[in-house]
Structures are given as C-alpha cells and as structure tokens.
C-alpha cells in the first residue's frame, strides 16, 4: 500500500463496480425477496409485509447490533473486542442483582439504579483491556480475550452460577412494550445507531478513529493522543454491550451471565459483512446495521421456512466468508475507489 502505481487501474464496468460497493444492500434485498417468494409459493402469505415478521427480525437484530456498533469503531481503529458478549452478560447480571436488592423501592427508582449500575460496570472491562492494549502493547486479541474470561467468571460469580430473576413491571415494559408498533428495544437500538453514526462520521472522535486505523504513526505525528483514544474506544464498545445487557434483562426479566455469549461472533460477523476490514481503516455504522439485518433475516427466515435451526450457523458462516472474499476483490472491481469517511 506504500507505493502506488502512477497509473490508476482501468475503470471497470460501472455495474460491476456498483455491485462491489453496494453488494450488502443487494444481498439483503435478495434474501428478503427469496423469503417473500417462498412465503407466497408455500404458504400463500407474505413474509415482508407482515408486521409481526418485521418486528421479530428487528428485535432479533437489536442486541447483536448494539454489540456490533461498538465493535465497528474498535475494528475501524485496527483492534477487535472479544469481551463484549460477556461484558453484556456481566452488565445484565449486575443490573438484575442491583434491582433485586432494591425490591422495596419504587419500580422506576429501582429500574434507574439498575440501569446506572449496569452501564457503570460495562465500561470497566474496556478501561482495563484498552489500557493493556494502548499502553502496554498487549495485542487486542489477547487483552480482550483476557477480559472475556474475567467478565465471564465475575458474571457467574455475581449471579451465583444461575440466572437472576427480577420482578419489576417497569422493567418488563422497557423490554416488551411497543411504541407505535415498534418494540422499545428496537427504538433504543435505533437511537444508539443515530448517535454512533454521528459520532463516527461527524465528530473529531470518529475522524481520529479512522485515522488511527489508517496510519497510527501519522496519527501520533498529527498530535492525536492515540493511547487515550484507544482506551476510550474499548470503553465505548463495553458501554454498547452494557446497553445490550440492559435490554436483555428487560426482555427476559432476568440477568444471565451467558446472555451475550452467542452474540459475540454475530457482532463481529455483522461488522465484517457490513464492509469493515479487520486490518482497520474502513467500515461504517450503516454497513454494520445492514450486516446485522442480513444475519437476523437469515436466522428468522430459516425458522420461518421451517429449516432446522442449526443451518443458521452454516448460513451465517458462509456469508461471513463470502463477504470477506468480496471485500478483498472490491479494490480490483472498483479501481481502488472506496469511500467510507
């Protein structure tokens, strides 16, 4: 990447270049069409225009999406956070335990304090792993794998090895109510999405995140406090996982240390399918949202057409590999043009 040939590669066919850039949108469209046609042919009903299906897909996507949005920024800056699944579980357990202790209080007060506790605890693992990575040069994979184990253990210890039930009507509403037909967790995920998109595209913080992923040495020379920024990124990833933990507790009226375990790989998959490079420097929140939707449509759609649920893993695995293959050939197909920032 250091030296560039003076002659740009010849322009490819515009249609091919368009497909290479917009393939994740197209793929989502094709998936939805496939299930729509299947639903009409087999069941004589609709897939997409059934509000129940849409709600379920959005709800399925919301928690992995929350993890994936924090993960997006970490990956853009050239890192990775393996701990987010168990950070989510830890936040969930801490929230449920806190609320159990506050049973005598007004449900609103108990809920607020529970959320505060969950979010407060969610930034600690990122503070630790970020410091290890940024200041002690521990590889991101190792630093966050360490926190994966720590959060997993502390989560189960806090929960005494079981799930922590909470009986709080406000909490139930937070997880299961709908506003104008949209589930509250989906609304929360959408708000976080807007905030994260703005942060990444329009703020100095976002610009530095891209710069660090693009060229760390140049970022340091430009006066960016790279270690501090790195720590903040991992804390932000943990914070997003904390929000997911709050939603988990609210949806199931219980805290569970293992609640986020299956979502870690989904979150990384969503980021990668959304077009981010694991080498850093590229990726967008919108791309990650599309990636999370693709995974959710596959998961929900396969159940909808009555395929054994284990095929979901196969399908998502194949999509991850295909998306990376497309990403690697993208530069060739588009003549090197790529615009994230």
């Amino acid at each position: 990447m250091a030296t560039i040939a003076p002659h740009a590669p010849a322009e490819r066919h515009p249609l091919l270049a368009f497909v290479a850039i917009a393939w994740s949108w197209l793929f989502l469209l094709i998936l939805v069409l496939f299930f729509e046609i299947w639903a009409r042919a087999q069941y004589g009903s609709t897939f997409l225009f059934n509000p129940y299906n849409l709600q379920s897909i959005a709800l399925t996507a919301s928690m992995p999406l929350l993890l994936a949005m924090g993960q997006t920024l970490v990956i853009i800056a050239g890192g990775i956070d393996l701990s987010v699944g168990f950070v989510m579980g830890l936040a969930s357990v801490v929230m449920a335990t806190t609320m159990q202790q506050l049973t005598g209080f007004h449900p609103g007060v108990s809920l607020l304090l529970g959320i505060a506790a969950a979010l407060a605890v969610s930034i600690i693992p990122g503070l630790v792993s970020g410091t290890l990575i940024a200041r002690l040069a521990i590889p991101a994979f190792i630093g966050t794998l360490g926190m994966y184990g720590v959060c997993r253990g502390v989560g189960f210890l806090t929960a005494s090895g079981t799930t922590v039930p909470v009986n709080n009507p406000w909490l139930f509403q937070l997880g299961n109510a709908k506003l104008v037909g949209v589930p509250v967790p989906v609304i929360i995920a959408l708000l976080v999405m807007l905030a994260m998109h703005w942060l990444l595209q329009e703020s100095r913080f976002g610009r530095y995140t891209y710069a660090i992923g693009g060229n760390k040495a140049a970022s340091i020379r430009a006066g960016i406090d790279v270690p501090k920024h790195t720590v903040l990124l991992y804390m932000l990833a943990g914070f997003c996982a904390g929000i997911a933990g709050v939603i988990y507790t609210a949806r199931f009226s219980a805290g569970a240390a293992q609640g986020g375990e299956p979502l870690l790989l989904d979150s990384i998959a969503a980021v990668v399918i959304g077009g981010a490079s694991l080498f850093g420097g590229s990726g967008t929140i919108i791309g990650t949202v599309i990636g999370a939707l693709i995974i959710a449509v596959i998961q929900y759609g396969l159940v909808f057409i009555d395929v054994a649920p284990f095929w979901q893993f196969v399908a998502v695995g194949v999509v991850i590999i295909v998306s990376v293959l497309i990403d690697q050939s993208r530069e060739r197909l588009t003549g090197g043009v790529r615009r994230d920032v």
């Binding site: 030296t3 560039i4 003076p6 329009e202 703020s203 610009r207 710069a211 060229n215 140049a218 615009r339």
Partner: protein
C-alpha cells in the same frame, strides 16, 4: 546576507558511550535549500532528529528565528514552524486530502446551528487552495477520495502542503524522492524549487547527487558525526562531494 532562520553551533549528541554527533555547525536561511549528505551512519538522521525535537542534545546551541530553542518534543518543534516530511509516516491512506491536511486540527461547522460537525467542505477548499498555491495538480474527483488513490508524488505533495498550510518555515525532507518513479521525482524537485521561491527554508537529505545538484544552494557533508565540509553548490562538483563523504 540575512539572519539565518536556523543556526546550530557546536552540537554534540551521545548515545551512551557512542558519540553520534560532535561539534556540528549548520545554518540555513529563508528561501535556501541546504542538502545534507554523508555516508550511512554519518549522523544525518541524528542531526535532523535533534533539530525536529526527537532527540535532546548534550552540548551546543540551536537558534531558530534568532532565539535559542530547546524543543522537548516533535510537536513543540512543529508548533514553532519546523516540519519533517517522512516518506511513509505522513498520511492516513484511508482519509481524503482535506482530512489529511487538517488531521489533528479539524474544522467544524454547526448542523442546524446546534450540533458541531466536521466541516468537510471548508477543509477540502482550504486544502485545494494550498495545493494550488504550490502548483500541485490533483484531479478534483481525487480530492475527495482516500489518498491511497493518489500517486506517490501527489501524496508527498499533500504532506508538504499540510506543512505549508500550518505555516512551516523550515521543512526537513528525508529522502523525499526515494520510492518514486522518475517523472514523480522530477515533480518533487520542482516543488522544492517553488517552496524555496516562496521563502521556505529546506534541509534535504539525499543519496542522489543529481537531485542535490539540481535544487540545492549549499551542501553540508557529515562524516562520522562531524562536519566534513560545506560548499556552495556552484563551487563544487560530484567528485569533491564524494571525497568529503568518504574522507581522504
């Protein structure tokens, strides 16, 4: 002759028991190109790092714009107006020209008068202005693409443009033409000549005597950490320079 922009007297730098620079003198004026030559290990890199605030010094004085300075860090040197251009450390490949020129010093506007947001348009226009001032041509559509789509010479030019935009008065260029094709090398040489015409002082390290004789006013040769000789470029030739470099 005007007052030198940068004047170094009796600079000595040791690393443990090893003396990297001993009693080195160097001056450069505004609008002057000083070539720094010497064999590998002669101390060229140590010298420019001492100027740029990377290395502290053990003895000697550095005067910049007439005052004694002691830069604690590269950013202190940069703030004073000394910019070093490195081949590959300069730009974030995934950001566009405007973002690179303003990296670390972004401009903001307000969305609906409220939320601060990056002012891409202003940054692009300002970057275009400084590139225009340096007579660097970059196709308008490439200005808004990641700089990895630019040629090596254009990327070098963007790094220099950034330094000039932020009021660098002394540019230190370490092998600016290495890793460039021949037409691109010529463009960088032309750019150095324009910078000189605009009153920028340049210290320029090169192994390429052709480049040195093409754009420099003076040449300073280092050998084993000491001044081995200094000549006006029109009063010397390649043979003499090589002799100064290798000794004898």
């Amino acid at each position: 002759m005007s007052e030198p922009l940068l004047a170094i007297r009796h600079l000595t730098k040791r690393f443990g028991g090893v003396t990297a620079l001993e009693d080195v003198d160097l001056t450069v004026r505004r609008g002057e190109v000083l070539a720094l030559a010497g064999d590998n290990g002669a101390g060229k890199s140590t010298l420019i790092k001492a100027i740029a605030g990377v290395h502290s010094r053990d003895e000697g004085e550095i005067h910049f714009k007439g005052t004694a300075v002691d830069f604690a860090s590269p950013s202190a040197a940069r703030a004073a107006g000394i910019e070093t251009i490195y081949q590959d450390l300069a730009l974030a490949d995934n950001l566009d020209v405007g973002a690179n020129v303003f990296l670390g010093r972004e401009r903001f506007t307000r969305f609906l008068g409220l939320l601060p947001r990056l002012d891409r348009e202003t940054m692009r226009q300002e970057a275009e202005k400084v590139l225009h001032q340096l007579e660097i041509d970059i196709e308008p559509k490439k200005l808004v693409q990641p700089v990895r789509n630019l040629s090596g010479g254009q990327r070098q030019a963007v790094a220099i443009g950034r330094a000039i935009y932020w009021k660098a008065e002394l540019l230190i260029m370490d092998e600016p033409t290495a890793a460039l094709g021949v037409p691109e090398q010529r463009k960088v040489m032309e750019l150095i000549a324009r910078l000189k015409a605009q009153g920028v002082a340049i210290i320029f390290i090169s192994h390429n005597l052709g480049d040195i004789f093409a754009v420099s006013d003076r040449i300073l040769v280092l050998r084993r950490g000491r001044n081995a000789g200094e000549r006006r470029i029109d009063q010397t030739d390649g043979d003499e320079v090589v002799k100064m470099m290798v000794g004898g």
